[in-house]
Amino acid sequence: MARALINVPAKAKRGEIVEVKVLISHPMETGFRMGPDGKFIQREILKSFACTYDGEAVFSADLHPAMSANPFFAFNMVASQSGVVTFSWTDDKDQTQVQTAKIDVE
């Protein structure tokens, strides 16, 4: 669907609060802009984002057209065990893109 940049620290201490950064390439067309023909360009946005850590919800967001193009999020997560962090984005057409990252907890 789109290119995503994900930044999860490769290593963390047990119980440490780490910062996770994600950015995905998406125009986030608002539906309020006019094209050259004077008609409104159809709305096309990512409507939700979710992050899970070994299946447990960490952070999620419901998005509206007021989110900038190429939605970026930085948020925190408690590094409790080595595992897989999963990120998913869902657009207006209910298409979902899923990406994962690994974190090693000592």
Partner: protein, 159 residues
């Protein structure tokens, strides 16, 4: 007075906003319905279900003077221990003058560690941005910031 401002729309708020009167006149001339303060109030009420909000503990961090409204760095944080018993469930972000009053809703869990998020939003004009936090005991807290935008998002549209 601040508390009244968010619960009872009317003359009090208008008095507060007289400083923004000039830009409000511009908005009235826009080709479609821009969200007004009343619309933001309605959106906040839809989120809280009309429950009372306490001001404080919620911080919206945006540079006060913005060159462009297309990508506004925004940090929202809520003071909370983020334990299973006492944490922030959701933080909803609202604005006054964009075409839609909602910006985003952020959902946290105790796994988040901190009720903190940094993101980028669009602002169509100088306006107030409000964050409302829903706590785990279903109480609501709010915080807000007033920002000046010199080049609004949607600037390419006819006005």
């Amino acid at each position: 007075m601040r508390d009244d401002m968010h619960t009872t729309p009317g003359a009090t708020r208008r008095a507060v906003l007289t400083g923004a009167a000039a830009s409000a006149a511009l908005i009235a001339a826009a080709p479609y319905a821009w969200s007004t303060t009343a619309e933001m109030d309605a959106a906040i009420k839809a989120f809280t279900g009309g429950a009372p909000m306490k001001e404080g503990g919620v911080k919206v961090d945006i540079p006060i003077l913005l060159e462009s409204g297309h990508s506004v760095p925004t940090i929202v944080s809520v003071e909370s221990p983020m334990t299973a018993a006492d944490h922030v469930k959701t933080v909803a972000l609202f604005n006054e003058k964009n075409p839609l009053p909602q910006v985003a809703e952020f959902h946290f869990t105790p796994k988040s560690g901190r009720a903190w998020v940094s993101t980028r939003i669009r602002l169509s004009d100088s306006q107030r941005v409000v964050a409302v936090a829903k706590m785990s005991d279903d109480s609501f807290r709010m915080g807000w910031i007033e920002v000046i935008v010199t080049l609004p998002a949607c600037a390419e549209e006819p006005r």
